[in-house]
Subunit: 84 residues, 2 copies
Amino acid sequence: MAHFRAEIDIMPHKELLDPQGKAVAASLQKLHFEDVEDVRIGRHITIKIKAKSKEEAAAHVEEACKKLLANAIMEGFHYQIHEA
Amino acid sequence: MAHFRAEIDIMPHKELLDPQGKAVAASLQKLHFEDVEDVRIGRHITIKIKAKSKEEAAAHVEEACKKLLANAIMEGFHYQIHEA
């Protein structure tokens, strides 16, 4: 069994409003970051996992995202698997 | 002015406990992801920004992280700037 590190980004779908992102964008503009055009906020999750291969690790991470980590109605996810 | 997209990860410092990550790790193990060894949860922020150069965009993003987005006591951040 080898060790892998998955770096997962879970973000609100593009079609949805992101009120937290809008609030942060407004705050940045008030702090004189006038060049900020848009902000979207999601989650970053790092998982350490052991598996026989990178493909097996990716399959487990994909399933974990679908079953627990991401809410498919509101969020999309993508990930990268690195050897740890 | 060119348009850039910053992809920022803000994560709890390694030295700190991450109770949300620990809870998710326990949940994954209950869902039969026994090979999960550790989970850490932070934020992923995408910012669209206009700037004269990639270097200027990076400087603004770095300052925004320090002033507003990350809490330096508890979190570290890193980012990548892409041309949009």
